[in-house]
Amino acid sequence: MTLSRRSLLGRLLQGLGAAVIVNQHVLVAQAAGEEPARSESGPLTVRVTRPFDAETPVREFLPFLTPNHRFFVRSHFGPPPPEAVSEANWRLRVGGLVERSQECTLKDLRQMDAVTITAVVQCSGNGRAFHRPKVPGVQWERGAVGNAEWTGVRLRDLLAKAGVQAGARHVQFQGADRPVVASVPLFTRSIPLEKALHPDTILAYEMNGRPLPLLHGAPLRVITPGWMADSCTKWLMEITVQAEESKGYYMETAYRVPTTPVEPGGSMSGPSTPTEAMAVKSLIAAPQEGETVKSGPVTIQGMAWSGEAKVVKVDVSFDEGKTWEPARLVGDDRPYAWRQWQLVWKAKTAGTLTILCRATDARGEQQPATTPWNPGGFLWNGWDRVTVTVSA
């Protein structure tokens, strides 16, 4: 053979999307036994090649909505085979403590009242890499979050059709994704009935006006606005109404945070609770980490969000948090979306400088300098931080 494997692969890949190429390069690098390649220039920063986990570079958060192809991707087992979730084969079943079990096609769901909600979806592990000591798990930094328009049906409309029985307290979701090895526990999750019946909890079949992409849970995923993404089951196939919270690893062990502080590096020995509402948080999307800016006016921009309250304030600090300047909240103001903010900064002194931001919500919750350590490395919401160089 005259072509090396790599150049042959390169030729084969010509004409395919950049994301695929980046992904293939990672695979090639891995096959060669190299350290994982991190693409900082592609649409996503790959954290794990298989199952595919990737986060959005923070500069891509400047638009209010995060485009589908740049939206972070996380699952435990990767997407199910496309034929399992094709419109012809896919069915949604609703059972458990209901009067009338349901089986719906996508067409059935599309005939129900449609609602569109703009909501932040964020991985509970977003920012895990910043916990010290380090915590096992995907080492997400800042971009396992996104803001999109989700269109679908209200879960409560579907539950009303089925008729929830007395004694029901929780609603369990099961997706079509399966582990490679059958002995690995399924990703089975439940949410309290109250959240399931909330008018803004929806089953989404569209994302930003397009059919839900396979990597984001096609044909149907749960959206629990204000709550962490572990409740937003993708490739949804089964809804079970039940008396108890779901059993199993992903409810009883993972995605839990201690209710009393745990010593850093320790294990969860005391009481804990599932990760639910998002904590107040903000990010700096521009300027970027390591960027050089000219002295003079520089627009600092970012986004801020909180799970169950409105963001009312974003502050920026140039002196490690000793003093703070209020930023201006701008753009769309929707209940579960993030809020954009800006501050025009007059960069004067040449040199390296760190910009911090912190958000405050209507309940008075304020983003802390660092988040209390927890064994799962969940719910990081420490001040965001970008270091820039000011040139004369």
């Binding site: 990672v26 695979l27 891995q30 096959a31 036994g33 190299e34 350290e35 994982p36 790959v46 954290r47 794990v48 090649t49 298989r50 199952p51 890499a129 910043f130 010290r132 000591p133 380090k134 096992p136 995907v138 080492q139 930094e141 800042r142 582990p179 490679v180 090895v181 059958a182 002995s183 690995v184 526990p185 980490e289 490690e320 948090g321 760190t354 300098a369 660092t370 420490g382 001040w383 931080r385 270091t387």
Partner: protein
């Protein structure tokens, strides 16, 4: 990677304290020793990672962790519990390698291991037998179950990997052996785990399917 100065300041303070305590426990010589251990164990450990761990996830998930030995022990134990085919000796080797290479003090970007030492080293003793070996179908069934079934399905009827029962490749035993030894496409190389005899046994069993 971004550094968070506040954490950094805390970490510096903490590491100063820990450093004094740690001085008595982890000397520079021992740090050096950890690097030596990871290099020495790398060929076998990396072969194991490909064969045992990458059935479910790519090795980059492992390489981004920085954990103390007890966390690595707990992680390997969790994976065994979930069905990873790891023997007691293999688990021991993996924990020693992982805690020597991916410990909390290791830098974010580790230099690659010396490529000469990185060639997967066969585990099994009879791999020197390069000549034709006769497969034993009854043994092949068990070897298939423990190594191949996760991807190729129960009874070799296919799964994430192709169906192997009645697969045309079975007519070409040399090609079959090469594919298993060195991998193909998304299939990892099994040369570090399966001997020629093992592969012949699997082949012998597959042709009965």
């Amino acid at each position: 990677m971004r550094r968070r100065n506040t954490i950094h300041a805390q970490a510096v303070g903490l590491s100063l304290i820990l450093g004094f305590i740690g001085l008595a426990v982890v000397t520079a010589a021992q740090e050096e020793d950890m690097a030596t251990v990871s290099v020495a164990l790398a060929p076998r450990a990396e072969g194991l990672i490909i064969a045992r761990c990458s059935v479910c996830h790519s090795p980059d998930l492992i390489a981004q962790q920085r954990l103390p030995r007890e966390r690595w022990e707990a992680t390997v134990e969790k994976m065994k519990h979930w069905g990873a085919e790891i023997s007691h000796d293999e688990a021991d080797l993996l924990v020693r390698f992982l805690s020597a290479r991916y410990h909390p003090g290791a830098p974010d970007h580790l230099p690659p291991l010396d490529s000469e030492l990185r060639k997967a080293e066969p585990f099994t003793q009879d791999s020197a037998a390069e000549g034709p070996v006769t497969g034993v179908a009854t043994r092949g069934a068990g070897i298939f179950e423990h190594n191949c079934q996760a991807c190729h399905g129960t009874g070799a009827t296919g799964g994430m990997g192709p169906k192997l029962a009645k697969n045309p490749i079975l007519k070409h035993e040399d090609l079959f052996r090469e594919t298993v030894l060195h991998g193909r496409g998304p299939m990892p190389a099994w040369g570090s785990v399966l001997s020629h005899q093992d592969i012949a046994d699997i082949h012998a069993w597959l042709v009965t399917r």
